[in-house]
């Protein structure tokens, strides 16, 4: 007699919803580490295209690329822990390809492709662009790409070597995450895997990674907006005491927590069953919600700063650039919402 949606259950995996000590430790360590590793000025330089390749060894050394890998491959923690760390990376606007690398690795893990050890070199997740070439997210320094393409009845997933490939840079809004394009003939195929799962199922874990990063971007921008509202005075009061400002910030906060909750739920489901229906659906919604939250919070940050928010010295536009660059990665919000909406209608007819 259950009317329930196929992807919602009353059985809850509490171990993954109660914040573990390990998760809190990883999260705090990452936040402190990123704060000391680079400055806002570094991010600003990276946005204009300056390569900060010296950051990558520090990322690997600190063990971030091992988070979310199985213990037998020298990994630590699960996808939920990785999401917590990626949120800190997003919040700090980390100008190193950690999201791209983890999205690629998590995609391989999701389809049970062999991953021998934590990646030591940057990697990227590639999708076909309109011209049939591989669009490599934040792939400027990637040595490999996990290239996912849909085929009849599933997906083919290729691991490409980009070492000798011609990486055509795209003019993008955030040079700290420069996308590149690679054509098939240029890349050496290192491995080829097949999956019966559809594209959205295969991408679920990667979408969790992207969503976590964007939740961090959103939270960072919101924090900036709040800090300014507490400091800036007009009409003899801090502007944060005006209801008009309070309500904007309260609504943005709700959007951030909405996205954070969906991201956590998607991470939990993908940890249990990476290609399952619940992970697939929640990851689409999480990615959409996180992009919404990031763009909204970043725009609000600018609005609250006023003209200052549109200067080169301000951090606010850095959040706007990051949100607008990473927001479209693995699907624009409206496209993801529309597909989940359409699918739920089809499921309803089947009931």
């Amino acid at each position: 007699m259950t009317i329930a949606s196929a992807t919602t259950s009353s059985d809850i995996d509490w171990d993954l919803y109660v914040p573990s000590e390990q998760m809190v430790e990883l999260e705090e360590a990452a936040r402190d580490h990123f704060a000391g590793l680079f400055s806002a000025a570094d991010v600003r330089a990276a946005v204009t295209g300056e390569a900060l390749d010296h950051l990558w060894p520090a990322i690997v050394e600190q063990g971030y690329t091992a988070i979310g890998l199985p213990a037998e491959t020298d990994g630590i923690g699960g996808l939920v822990d990785l999401a917590a760390v990626l949120e800190q990376a997003g919040r700090s606007l980390l100008p190193a390809p950690l999201l791209a690398t983890t999205a690629a690795t998590q995609t391989l893990l999701a389809i049970r492709a062999p991953v021998e050890e934590p990646p030591a070199e940057p990697s990227t997740l590639a999708r076909r662009d309109h011209g049939g070439a591989w669009l490599c997210f934040d792939g400027r320094s990637a040595t490999t790409a996990v290239a996912v393409a849909e085929r009849a009845g599933g997906c083919s997933i290729r691991v490409l070597s980009l070492e000798s490939a011609d990486r055509r840079p795209l003019a993008g809004v955030d040079g700290a995450r420069a996308d590149v394009v690679v054509v098939d003939g240029d890349a050496v195929v290192l491995a080829e895997h097949e999956s019966d799962a559809d594209l959205d199922a295969v991408l679920a874990s990667a979408r969790v990674c992207a969503a976590a990063d964007l939740v961090g971007v959103a939270a960072g921008a919101l924090d900036g907006g709040i800090r300014h509202a507490l400091r800036r005075e007009q009409f003899g009061r801090t502007i944060g005491s005006f209801q008009a400002v309070k309500h904007l910030l309260a609504d943005a906060y709700v959007l951030v927590e909405r996205a954070r909750s969906l991201t956590r739920g998607a991470a939990v489901e993908a940890s249990r069953d990476p290609l399952g229906a619940a992970a697939r659906r929640l990851a689409m919604l999480a990615k959409a919600a996180a992009a919404d939250a990031a763009t909204r919070s970043a725009e609000l940050h600018v609005q609250l700063l006023g003209a200052m928010g549109l200067t080169w010295e301000s951090d606010a536009p850095l959040f706007v650039r990051r949100a607008r660059h990473t927001g479209p990665f693995l699907g624009m919000p409206d496209d993801l919402y529309a597909r989940v909406g359409a699918e739920s209608l089809t499921e309803g007819e089947a009931r």
Binding site: M1, T2, I3, A4, T8, S10, D11, I12, W14, Y17, V18, P19, I226, A229, L230, R237, T238, G240, S241, F242, Q243, V245, K246, H247, L249, A250, D251, Y253, V254, E257, R258, A259, R260, S261, L262, R264, G265, L282, L285, A288, A289, D334, L336, Y337, A338, R339, V340, G341, A342, S344, L345, T346, E347, G348, E349, R351
Partner: protein, 366 residues
């Protein structure tokens, strides 16, 4: 057998066999709703995390949450007088004397005696602390004079938690007391106000003329009423979202079961499904944070987020139903009802102030 299995067996045994198919019709079945609440209490499923003698099963919060989610997934019948279980009973448990608990809790939780919340007045809505109904101590009684308004189901209620001013000289938050009023007391007149539609629970004006209330009917402390009011409204905040979640599912069921209303609706439907999942997951995160022993600001967003989302779901369902050019009545009634959600229990505007001030740390306004 886990608690969840036992609860499923209870539902199978208690609800009619065709409930899943016809639950929206059963929505109007007052007898079923009344019987279901009493049975839930008797079997300990009403508030499963509470002790057995209070209609619970002593379940840990986590299992209690699973039980409630299961109930929502199965669209269990709504309580007739929701504030009795959601607001009054927790206040009785927290602030009541042993005698008050003994007398009121059981009939309240079984749904035998309904409660009104005597809070709003003509001059005190969102600004509750400015209420002016007075209570003057005379011997063993308080003599109460004044007026309450928008008092939900007051004309059908047995009792009322009545907020009155007992110290006119104290700062406005510190001179308020909560009294338990028997609605049959002489001098009490409850008059139903005709609502904008039949789906909206009846609300009333309540006139209080020299009403005598025994002094032992103080709930909490003399002049401690503000604390009772605030914790009463905050009680169950960790769980109340389940009602919003259930209402959203109810609103969207006809859309999901009907034919595809067209591509132009898909984005909005997807957003609503995201809202619905996010409400559930935020509720789970809230309980998760409590399990880890921490306080969490998360429950503070659930009223705003939940009520706004319910309203959007009802709005969407009405607009989809009107797709062929005629606005049908049933979804309109639900839509009208949903407009109350962002008003009662603290308006959305007040909720945004609370979030900004208590969670985000912004200063109080002028």
């Amino acid at each position: 057998m886990t608690a969840l299995d036992e609860y499923r067996a209870f539902l199978e045994a208690t609800l009619p066999a065709d409930y899943a198919e016809r639950y929206s019709e059963y929505r109007e079945d007052i007898e079923l709703r009344t019987r279901f609440q009493a049975a839930s209490f008797d079997e300990g499923w009403l508030v499963p995390e509470w002790p057995r003698e209070r209609g619970g099963r002593d379940l840990p919060l986590t299992e209690a949450l699973s039980v409630r989610i299961e109930g929502a997934l199965r669209r269990v019948p709504r309580q007739m007088n929701i504030q009795a279980t959601g607001v009054v009973a927790p206040a009785l448990i927290q602030f009541g004397t042993p005698e008050q608990k003994e007398r009121y809790l059981r009939p309240t939780l079984r749904g035998e005696a309904w409660w009104a919340l005597g809070m709003s007045e003509p001059g005190a809505g969102s600004d509750l602390a400015s209420l002016r109904t007075t209570a003057v101590r005379r011997g063993d009684v308080f003599v109460v004079n004044g007026q309450k308004v928008w008092t939900t189901q007051a004309n059908e209620s047995r009792w009322c938690t009545l907020y009155v001013r007992t110290d006119p000289d104290a700062p406005k938050h510190r001179g308020i007391t909560c009294l338990i009023l028997d609605m049959d007391t002489p001098g009490v007149t409850a008059r139903a106000i005709k609502t904008a539609g039949p789906s909206i629970d009846s609300f009333c004006e309540v006139f209080l003329d020299d009403v005598e209330i025994p002094a032992e009917n103080i709930l909490g402390e003399l002049n401690g009423g503000w604390r009772v009011a605030m914790s009463a409204l905050e009680h169950e905040r960790d769980m109340i979202w389940i009602n919003n979640w259930l209402e959203m599912q109810r609103a969207l069921d006809p859309v999901l079961r009907g034919s595809d209303p067209g591509a132009h609706t898909h984005v909005r439907l997807g957003r609503l499904l995201a809202d619905m999942e996010a409400i559930r997951l935020t509720g789970i995160r809230t309980v998760g944070a409590r399990m880890a022993g921490g306080d969490t600001p998360l429950s503070g967003i659930l009223k705003l987020f939940g009520s706004e989302s319910v309203q959007e779901a009802a709005r969407f369902a009405l607009e989809v139903a009107g797709g062929d050019g005629h606005a049908p009545l049933a979804p309109f009634d639900e839509y009208l009802e949903s407009m109350a959600a962002t008003i009662y229990g603290g308006t959305s505007e007040i909720q945004r102030n609370i979030i900004a001030e208590r969670i985000l740390g912004l200063p109080k306004g002028a």
